[in-house]
Amino acid sequence: MPCGKERDGDGYPSTTTTTRRAGLITTMSGHGSSKEPSTLTFERPSIRVWILSSYLVFVVLALPLWWSTTSIERLSLPTSRVDSLGSKELHLPISVAVDVARPRLPSDNLAQKIRTLFELRKETIPALYSRLELAMDSSRGTSLPDTYSISLTEDVEFPTIRGRHLSVPIHQANRAPDLLLDLLTPYGTPSPPGTFHHLVAKYSPRYRLAFTLLNEDAAAGRAVIGWDVAEMLSRWIAPVLRQMSELHNFTIESQIRFYAPLAFEPLFLNNGNDLIHGLTQENLKVFVNSAEWTLASSVSNDPVLHFVVFVPSMSRTPLRILDDTSQPISSNSFVLPQWGGIVLLNLPPDTPSKLRLTEAELDHVFIGFRAQLLRLVGASELPQDVRSSEPNRPLTDFQLDTLYRQRTFENAGSSKETLQSIVKLVDQISNMPVGQDVRNDVLEALSALEVLYAGVWSVPALALQHSSRALTLASRAFFNPGMLALLYFPAEHKYAVYTPLFAPVAVPLLVTLLREVLAWKKTRKARNST
C-alpha cells in the first residue's frame, strides 16, 4: 500500500480514486494562492467544454447504433396486393356438351334444364359453386379433352360413366340433369345432416398411410402372424394412389402387432341364437386405445392416415358394431374423422391357431380401406346406381375433377386467409420481426395466387398445382421460426434496464452541463455589466 500514508487518517478504506484526489488536493493546497486553478492547463474552460461535448457527441453518434441494434427487422409486406386478393374469385369453368346422337331426343330441353338447375344450386350453396361456370355446348360431340358430355341412350341399363362421359338410359331421362350435377357439384347437393365432409383430412401435399394388423391378444389361442399386405396394396390401394398422384404424395408403411387390448369391455349379448360381442356407438369413439397401441412411426412430420384391421381374440369373437337399438349391423368398418379407418375382422371359430391372412379374408378388408381412404381424402361418392365402366379406375374423372376443384378452392381460400393474417398480425403485434425469407415466401405465394385468380382453369389439375404451391409457401411464411414475436416488454421494464446503466453516467454529465451554462451566463452578465 504505497499510498497509505497519504490518507490523512480519514478512516476510509483506501481506493485509488479517493487517494489520488486527496493527493491532488494536497498538491493544490501546497502551492496555495500562488497559482489560480483557472490558469492550470487542464482546468481551462475550453478543455472542460471539449470534454463535455465529446461525451455528448459520443452519445449522439452512438444513438443510430443503439437504434439499429435494438430495433426489429420488419420488412414491408405487400399489404395492398394481399388486400386486393379479397375481392378476387376463382374461375373454374365446366364445359358440358350435350350429345345429340339421336335427333329425336329433346336435347335442347335437356341443356336448358341443366342450366336452370345449375343456377339454382349456385344460389343455394354459395361457397364453391358460385365460382363455377357452366358452358353449354349442345352441338354434336366435342373433341376437347376436358369437356364433360352427357348423352341419352338405349345401350345402357344404368347411368354409366366412361371418362368424362355420362350415358343415361332413356327411360331415366328425367333424372339426367340431376345426375350430371350431382357428379359435377357433389358437395353442393343438400345432403342430410352429418355429412361426411368433416371426415376429410386437411389438405397436405404429402400423406403417410399406416396399415396395421392388430391382434387383440395373440397369446390367447389364435394369432395372425402374417398378411399379404403388399399384394393387397397393389391390388386395391395403389390404383387409387396413382389416380391421386397429382393431389398428394403418399408414403406407405405397414406393421403387425400381437397385443392390442381394448380400453373398455364390449357388450356381451345374445342375438337370436348367437352370442356376440357388441360395440356401441359410444365405444366406437374410444375404440382406439392410443395409450397402448403404437400405430405409426414418427419418422416424419407428414400427416398420417391410419388403417387398422382389428382381429378380436377368440373369446371376443364375433365382435360386431351395434346400432342405436343394440342390434348388430351388417357393416364392420368405421371411420374416425381425419384420423383413419378401422375394419373389424372376425375369423371363423375353426381357423388354425397360427395363420397368415390371404386374399380370401383380406379382399373385403382392403375394399373397406379403399372406401375409407377415398372418404378421408375427400373424394365424392357416385350418385346412387351410377356405374363406372372402367373397373380398373376406382375414381371416375368426374370424381377426380371434383376433388381437384374442391381442393383448389380450399387451398386458395386458406392461403389467402394465411396471407391476410400474416399482414394483420404483423400490423397488430409491433414486435414481430419480418425477415427476408418471410417476405420472399409471401411474395411467391402471392404471385402463385394471383396467377391462380387471373387464369381460367378448365383443367382443374393445373389450378390445383398453383393453389397447392400458394398454400405451402404461405404456410411456410407464417410458420417461419424467425417470425416469433419478441416477448412483451412493458415500459417499466425498459426503464429498469436502462436506468442502472445510464443514470450514474448521466447525472454528472447533466450537472456539468448545467454548471457550464450557469457559468457562461454569469460571465456574460459580468461582461455586460462592466
Partner: protein, 386 residues
C-alpha cells in the same frame, strides 16, 4: 325468441334470392342450413390436444411436477393419445437424488398412485422448457428439425387443453426461475393460432398465484379459461408428505383432478358442473372462470370436449366384396352418421375481468421515474459549490 330471429335472418335472403323455388323447398333449405349451423355450434371438433406445462424446477417445487403429471394422467385416461399430448416438465422430480422413491412421483400423502408410472412421454424436459419453446410450440414456428412429438399439429377442428402451473404473479408466470411469460404473450400466441386456424376451441387452465390475471389479456374467440386464484391472492399447496419431504400437489389442481376422477370417456358432465363445484373454502383461494370469449353455453360444453379423445365415429357400409374382374364398380360406400345432432341455442355468458386502469398506473410510474431523475439532477446541481 333467438331461434325465431335467426330463422328470419336465414330465411329472408333465400326468399329474396330464390324466387323461382317454391316456398316449401326454400324453407327446407333454410331449416337445414340452420340445423347444420347449430350442429356445428354444438361440437365441431374432431381431435383433441393437450399442452401441459410445469414451468418451475428444483426439488422443493415437486408439487408443480405432480400437478402437470396428474393432468397428464387424466387426459390420457380420458382418451387423448400420447401423440396429441405435449408435456413440458421443467425438472424431473422422479430422478432427483433427493427423491426417496426413485422413479416415482406421488400426488398424495399415502403414495397411492404413482404418476410417473410406466408409460410416460415427456416431450420437453429440463432446460428445454423455456418461454420461447412454449411460444414456438403454440404458434407452430418451430425449426424444421423439431420432431413430430414436440409439435402441436392442430387444425381448425382441434380442441386444445392448455394447462400451466408454476410460480407466478400479476400477469406473469415464471419459467425455471430465470425468465417469465406475461399474459400478453400468451394472448398474442393464441391470437396467432386463431388467425392461422390452429384451433377450434381452447380450454386454458392455470394453477399459480394470482392465476386469474394470466387469462385477463386474452382477446381471441373460442377460449374458455379458468384459474386458481384472484389477483393479489396466493394459491396454496394441498398437503405435505412426510416421506417425500415436500408438498406433493397444489390445492386447486388436486380439487380439479379429484373432480375429473369421477368423469369417464363417455360421461356427459359439463364444464358448468365443474365450475359450479368450485369451493373457495376447500381450494383456499378464489378460482375464476372467463367465458366471454367462449361462444357455447357452458352447460352444453362437455368436459370430454377438451379432455376426451374422438368426438365422432362414422360407420361405413361398404359394398359386398367383389372381384376386380367384374365390369361394373359398385358405389364405394355410404356413410351413416352416428353423431348426436342436438338442437341448441347459442348463448353468450359474460364474466369480464376488472382490468381497467392498468394503463394509467404504468403511465404514472413512468413519469414518476422521470420526475425522480429530474429531482436528482436538480439536487446535485444546486448542492455543488462553485
Amino acid at each position: 325468441m333467438r331461434l325465431a330471429t335467426a330463422f328470419i335472418v336465414f330465411v329472408l335472403p333465400f326468399f329474396l334470392v330464390v324466387e323461382a323455388l317454391d316456398a316449401e323447398t326454400v324453407e327446407e333449405f333454410a331449416v337445414r342450413d340452420l340445423f347444420n349451423r347449430n350442429v356445428n355450434a354444438e361440437s365441431s371438433h374432431t381431435n383433441n390436444w393437450a399442452v401441459l406445462v410445469c414451468a418451475s424446477r428444483y426439488w422443493f417445487n415437486y408439487r408443480h411436477m405432480a400437478n402437470a403429471l396428474g393432468m397428464y394422467r387424466t387426459v390420457k385416461r380420458l382418451g387423448i393419445p400420447d401423440s396429441n399430448i405435449v408435456l413440458m416438465l421443467a425438472d424431473d422430480a422422479a430422478c432427483n437424488s433427493r427423491n426417496h422413491f426413485p422413479g416415482c412421483v406421488f400426488a398424495n400423502r399415502g403414495h397411492a398412485l404413482d404418476l410417473y408410472g410406466e408409460n410416460i412421454e415427456v416431450d420437453y424436459r429440463g432446460y428445454e422448457v423455456t418461454v420461447e419453446n412454449f411460444l414456438r410450440l403454440l404458434t407452430g414456428r418451430v425449426e424444421p428439425s423439431v420432431p413430430r412429438s414436440k409439435r402441436l399439429l392442430t387444425d381448425d377442428r382441434s380442441n386444445i387443453f392448455v394447462y400451466m402451473t408454476g410460480h407466478g404473479g400479476d400477469e406473469f408466470l415464471k419459467f425455471q426461475d430465470s425468465e417469465e411469460i406475461s399474459a400478453f404473450d400468451i394472448a398474442d400466441a393464441f391470437e396467432q393460432m386463431w388467425q392461422k386456424k390452429r384451433y377450434n376451441e381452447i380450454f386454458f387452465m392455470i394453477d399459480t398465484c394470482q392465476a386469474n390475471t394470466m387469462y385477463s389479456k386474452f382477446y381471441s374467440p373460442n377460449i374458455l379459461a379458468t384459474g386458481s386464484s384472484r389477483i393479489r391472492e396466493n394459491s396454496y399447496s394441498y398437503e405435505n408428505d412426510d416421506d417425500v419431504g415436500v408438498s406433493v400437489i397444489d390445492s386447486y389442481t388436486h380439487f380439479v383432478l379429484e373432480y375429473l376422477e369421477g368423469v369417464n370417456k363417455t360421461s356427459t358432465t359439463s364444464m358448468k358442473d365443474l365450475f359450479d363445484k368450485y369451493d373457495p373454502e376447500i381450494i383456499r383461494s378464489h378460482p375464476g372462470v372467463r367465458s366471454d370469449l367462449f361462444h357455447r353455453p357452458l352447460e352444453r360444453t362437455l368436459i370430454t370436449d377438451f379432455f376426451g379423445g374422438v368426438a365422432h365415429a362414422e360407420v361405413m357400409h361398404t359394398g359386398p366384396p367383389h372381384l376386380p374382374s367384374s365390369t361394373l364398380v359398385p358405389p364405394l360406400a355410404q356413410v351413416d352418421s352416428i353423431t348426436e345432432d342436438e338442437h341448441m341455442q347459442v348463448e353468450v355468458l359474460h364474466n369480464p375481468m376488472d382490468g381497467t386502469g392498468d394503463h394509467w398506473v404504468g403511465l404514472y410510474r413512468a413519469w414518476g421515474a422521470v420526475g425522480i431523475m429530474g429531482l436528482l439532477v436538480a439536487w446535485a446541481t444546486l448542492n455543488t459549490k462553485w
